[in-house]
């Protein structure tokens, strides 16, 4: 079985704190995997470890067959990442930023790609505004566009829908579901349980850096169990 993501015993320490404490994961190609957990549980740190943004104290990780620790740049070339905090360079306009990302990723037809995403996420009217002047929602759209502009096969998404209006949220959810149907994989971190329940195929709940539950979303539906009940139970027990 070929996995999109494989992680073994990942550990990350910040001083005395073990932010990620021995996490092992395998995510198949074509999965929309949801990483859930309360605030400060280690979701963002896990994403950063899996994408080579942070170095683990222990453990190893591969994305699309690439060892993240040994070759983080290659891993970032292959995947798209939407960070938790939107930090596009302040003094570029939205359009310039997307072109800038295309240049970094050495993409052809940059202007066509930018135009497509500006139109799809409905912020063409903001393309000449400086990134620092954009609303949080528009910045989130911009970060979404930069993550998918090179048509990756795997994307890591950290709280992607939190500032988007319901119309764009629907569009994005449909896009993500379509993306996995076409063979792409998504690693999706959130604490909005309704969204995870609606679109994820498999979920994992972490608390204090450790996995406390992992399983397909359809199992919950079979048991007629709500994700919220499971989440509260698991976090309470942990």
């Amino acid at each position: 079985m070929e996995y999109a993501i494989e992680a073994k015993n990942l550990v990350k320490k910040f001083g005395e704190l073990r932010a990620v404490d021995g996490i092992s994961l395998s995510i198949k190609k074509g999965e929309l995997f949801g990483l859930l957990g309360p605030n400060g549980s280690g979701k963002t740190t896990t994403i950063k470890l899996l994408t080579g943004q942070l170095k683990p104290a222990e453990g190893e990780a591969k994305v699309m067959g690439v060892d993240v620790l040994k070759n983080p740049i290659r891993a970032k070339e292959l995947v798209g990442i939407i960070p938790e905090q939107e930090t596009p360079p302040s003094f570029l306009t939205a359009e310039e930023y997307l072109l800038f990302v295309c240049k970094i990723r050495k993409l052809k037809n940059a202007e066509k790609r930018c135009g497509k995403w500006l139109k799809f996420l409905e912020f063409e009217d903001q393309k000449d505004s400086l990134c620092k002047d954009l609303s949080r929602g528009t910045r989130q759209k911009l970060m979404f566009a930069q993550a998918f502009i090179h048509e990756p096969k795997l994307a890591f998404i950290d709280e992607p829908l939190i500032n988007l209006d319901p119309v764009i949220q629907r569009k994005v959810k449909d896009f993500l579901q379509d993306f996995v149907k076409k063979g792409g994989s998504i690693f999706f971190s959130t604490h909005v349980l309704e969204i995870a329940e609606e679109i994820c195929t498999r979920i994992c709940i972490i608390d204090r850096g450790k996995i406390v539950y992992e399983g397909p979303i359809k199992d919950l539906k079979k048991k007629r169990q709500h994700l919220e009940e499971l989440f509260l139970k698991m976090v309470k027990e942990a």
Partner: protein
């Protein structure tokens, strides 16, 4: 009653110590004292060139400028502070969400700035002077110097608070007031033959010790502060600007350099940030002019070295400050999720640096033309390029992409001085013996390449701090 002030003091300390480290930040006043001590020890030498009164006047103006720059931090530094900490997290902006009036916040902010910068800059400076006095045979009324320099600092600070307040309300009011007050003062001083620079009240107090000058000094502190406190405004007018895509065109023009999109982005950042390219020119031209005057006067009275050659060495060091501008608007958190190495960014900034360095090169050529000294032009250009490359390489090795933060770390700053100064001193001494000896500066270029290569390895292998 003092909770807000205490909170602001803690916030100021923590925001700096988080970036530089508590110990290193605490060392900063010690460094100021050491520099003030060293400068004071050179006073007898300066007094062979300038009269004591001129030195006193210059020192008083330095303190006024210092007060202005401390006050201006609220104006020019907010872009950086907002980006790093976010407006919402600063107490100064808490009137938006908490039941505290802007006036109360502004008053505490003012008092905090006075206490904080007085303790961190003015007192260490005066301590350095006090330690030097027993070693130099200059009789000085220390209490009077302390008082009038402090008044100069406060005049600068109050004036900048007033200007900031006016700007926050309307930039037109600010310009109008500057014209209405500035033009008549200049015309009247010209008409009545008043020596305007010497009319600085705190300096006049130092000379005359009159109650009138004390009263005018206090007036210049109290009135601008009172006006600022009466009409506070924490929000500055923010224009939402729109621009046509200029990245594509600029990248195309700079394609010859490679990584042209990164270089273009840096140039766009500098152009679109507050003050635009003007502030960079000012920040570079002003120190160059200062060194020019100082060196010109110094070498006129102590003609041991050639002006053009020493100027090329000093400008090489000064030019390395261009790197600070190129890195000011970049944080690696903007790239950490993209396939970008730290070394790629460093390379692009070095290329941008090389392009901007055409400006100091032009200054050097103009200086040679002005002095009619074309015979030494080639040597001075080589020296400038060698020193500039070396100073830049040392800076990159020590501070990576964060010179604007890490150079405030006292330890790193001292290491920078220790690494850069021996080569500079050696070159200055060599220039005294024979200008041709300066060709030996060429050895600094391969050294710089080696250091830069080491810097790439060092910074690529580190987890980047998110300052």
């Amino acid at each position: 009653m003092f909770e807000l002030l205490k909170g602001m003091m803690k916030e100021e300390w923590r925001s700096h110590s988080t970036m530089f480290g508590s110990m290193m930040f605490a060392m900063f006043p010690v460094m100021i004292a050491v520099f003030a001590f060293a400068g004071s020890m050179l006073l007898p030498l300066f007094m062979t060139i300038l009269s004591p009164e001129k030195i006193a006047l210059l020192t008083h103006y330095i303190f006024v400028i210092f007060g202005l720059s401390v006050g201006a931090f609220g104006l020019s530094g907010r872009e950086i502070m907002n980006r790093r900490f976010g407006q919402a997290s600063l107490i100064a902006y808490s009137s938006r969400s908490l039941p505290v009036s802007e006036r109360r916040i502004f008053m505490n902010f003012f008092v905090k700035d006075v206490i904080y910068y007085f303790s961190f800059w003015v007192i260490p400076f005066m301590a350095g002077l006090a330690f030097a006095l027993p070693f130099i045979s200059i009789s000085l009324d220390y209490f009077m110097v302390f008082s009038t320099l402090s008044l100069s600092f406060l005049i600068g600070l109050s004036l900048m608070f007033l200007l900031s307040t006016l700007y926050a309300h309307s930039s037109r009011i600010l310009v109008g007031l500057l014209v209405i007050t500035g033009v008549p003062i200049i015309l009247m001083s010209w008409y009545f033959g008043v020596d305007l620079p010497s009319s600085l009240p705190s300096f006049s107090l130092f000379v005359s010790r009159s109650w009138e000058d004390l009263a005018v000094s206090l007036f210049l502190i109290i009135i601008p502060s009172a006006v600022s406190l009466a009409f506070p405004k924490m929000d500055y007018p923010e224009k939402k600007r729109r621009y046509r895509n200029s990245l594509a065109g600029l990248s195309k023009k700079l394609d010859f350099a490679g990584n042209s999109h990164f270089i273009s982005k840096d140039f766009i950042d500098m152009q679109r940030s507050e003050g635009g390219l003007g502030k960079i020119i000012f920040a570079f031209i002003f120190p160059v002019a200062f060194i020019w005057v100082l060196l010109f006067v110094f070498l006129k009275f102590v003609p041991i070295a050639d002006f053009l050659l020493v100027f090329s060495i000093l400008m090489g060091v000064l030019a390395s400050s261009i790197y600070e501008w190129l890195t000011e608007f970049d944080v690696f958190t903007s790239y950490v999720f993209l396939p970008v190495r730290v070394s790629t960014l460093m390379k692009s900034k070095i290329k941008g640096y090389a392009i901007i360095s055409l400006a100091p090169l032009a200054i050097l050529v103009s200086t040679a033309a002005w002095l009619n000294q074309f015979s030494d032009l080639l040597i001075s250009l080589i020296t400038f390029l060698s020193v500039s490359s070396f100073a830049l390489a040392v800076k990159i090795y020590l501070t990576g992409l964060y010179p604007n933060i890490l150079l405030y770390n006292a330890k790193i700053f001292i290491v920078f001085l220790l690494l850069a100064s021996p080569a500079l001193l050696a070159l200055i001494i060599l220039s005294i013996f024979n200008p041709l000896y300066l060709l030996s500066s060429l050895v600094l270029i391969p050294t710089a390449f080696y250091i830069v290569k080491k810097s790439y390895a060092k910074w690529d292998n580190r987890e980047q701090p998110s300052f």
